[in-house]
Amino acid sequence: MSELLKVKNLSVQFPTDKGTVYAVKDFSLNLNPGEIMGIVGESGSGKSTAAYAIMDLLQGARVTAGEISFQGRDMLSMSGEEKRSLRGGQVGMIFQDPMGCLDPSVKIEGQMVEMLRQHSNVTKGEARKISTEMLRSVGITDPEGVMKGYQHQLSGGMRQRVMIAMMLSTQPKLLIADEPTTALDVTIQDQILELLTKTCRENHMAMLFITHNFGIVARICNRVSVMYGGMIVEEGLSEDIFYSPGHPYTRGLLEAIPDLEPGAGRRLKTISGTPNDPFAPPSGCVFAPRCPDCTGICKTEIPKRQDMGGGHGVWCHLARQEGRKGE
């Protein structure tokens, strides 16, 4: 069982007084050690919800799954205690909004030492030394100063670095990153992405990178899953996804992304329509209402995974190979 993380048809529903929200349906993935996998989708596609569900961080949600196993150990049958020790120990997590990630009333040092002592029995002095080293390794030039300060004295980029240092201090095998750079400036984002890929390479750590930005996926991910309306619509190596996208949604998204070529007034190709109503998901394919080449069968039957070879799967009745500018 070489897989680090294996998830089979995970589903998440939120019962609310206005009806049930079907946030995630039949979500599956498997991740090998040291691999960086991207989960791409627009807001409301359920990408973050799926990750939180895997780590059992969702409150007030009905989570059903065929299988969730980490390093061969079945997480579904794990006790709350075991799952808790996994979180922060073997699996680290970093989040999108750096402004609200750290406890505002506790020094950075206190929060980092707390993390280390929770998952390993080191003394306070050792924990402090490790934390300072970790802060230096994530590119913070004055770790002692940061340790003594509070979160409101740091910029967004610095806080994200502290978060990364904290989560990496326990040498996790898997890092789940939920849009860590969306709220940061593009130059700082570039640094954080470089830091994350270097750390994964050096520590042979796997990363599940959740984002809506295809550019980031192209830059750091070797495998990609594209999600829409709570379901995976396409998965495969990033070469396949970018150069021979099988699903109309993936194709539409790739063409809608503005490129860096000059020329005012160049229109972008768009995907018409508006997002589905979360309380009443469409029968059949979730993308049917907005799909340009949608046919009768799409409206009635949920498409199955069509294998396009080499692990490249497409959930579309009319899936066909079609190159983009790469070939």
């Binding site: 400036d185 550019g215 192209a218 992304i257 490129d259 860096l260 070529e261 229109r267 768009t270």
Partner: protein
Amino acid sequence: MSNELLRVENLIKTYPARTSKGQPVRAVDDVSFSIEKGKTLGLVGESGSGKTTTGRAVLRLTEPDSGSIFFEGKDITKGNMRPYRRKMQIVFQSPAGSLDPSFPVWKIISEGPKAYKLLKTKREAVELSRELLLRVGLNSEDAFRYPGEFSGGQQQRIGIARALAMEPEFVVCDEPVSALDVSYQAQIVNMLIDLRQERELSYLFISHDLSVVMHLSDEIGVMYQGQLMELGSCEEIAKHPAHPYTRELLRAVPVADPRKAASRESRIIAFPEGSVNRGCPYRLRCPVAGEECGGERPSFRDLGGGHFSACIKE
């Protein structure tokens, strides 16, 4: 300079220091540019670069400390803005935040003309809003619904319809698509392009996303810590950027193409924080900075053909 619509000269805006010890922060530090009728200037910069403050100062939504603003040749820096408000409008960043949740859509769209007494009765107002809703791709019976019942993309369209209601000539777009997903971003960008040709509008398009700006602007200005680093035509900036900061921005934007994105070696060590009061503000992060950059502030040199750069190394 005949068909020049807007000219800004040495615009400065300072905010009181956050801590009592620090000196006041210069959000906009001596910025000058001009926009011709029907043309679009893109203002690009990261957070804290002063691009939003500049946009607000041009419409005098925040009063500038010094410098002057000319609209159609007339100086509007001081005095009553009311006659000019009609021709100058603004579209905001947050779809939900820019619409009053307690107003029905027809009231939101017709608020401007009503303030100028162009509409007498409610029926006229509803009529105007219906027309504009159709123009921005929504259906006319949305006029009686409330902003909370729309998605982000649709709310942004209502914001644009509100601006169009005043039949403006100049629109400041302050990060209009940054809060939207890619597919809705594309729809709004296309609409702004169509409106430009159709109503001969000129935009001051503000964004942190260089790729979106490239699709819309004739000229691009790059701002950093309140100062204009480089100003030039879209091709100049994209093909041969003169300022190291512009080059850094172009390099850092992730491109949706694995082969192009593969070759890059980026720096990890965090940039030193804090602003600089002497010399070039970018020198702390600049790979090619030297002592001379620490002297007095580099002037905004003309490299020919309307391409300016504030770097003495070039």
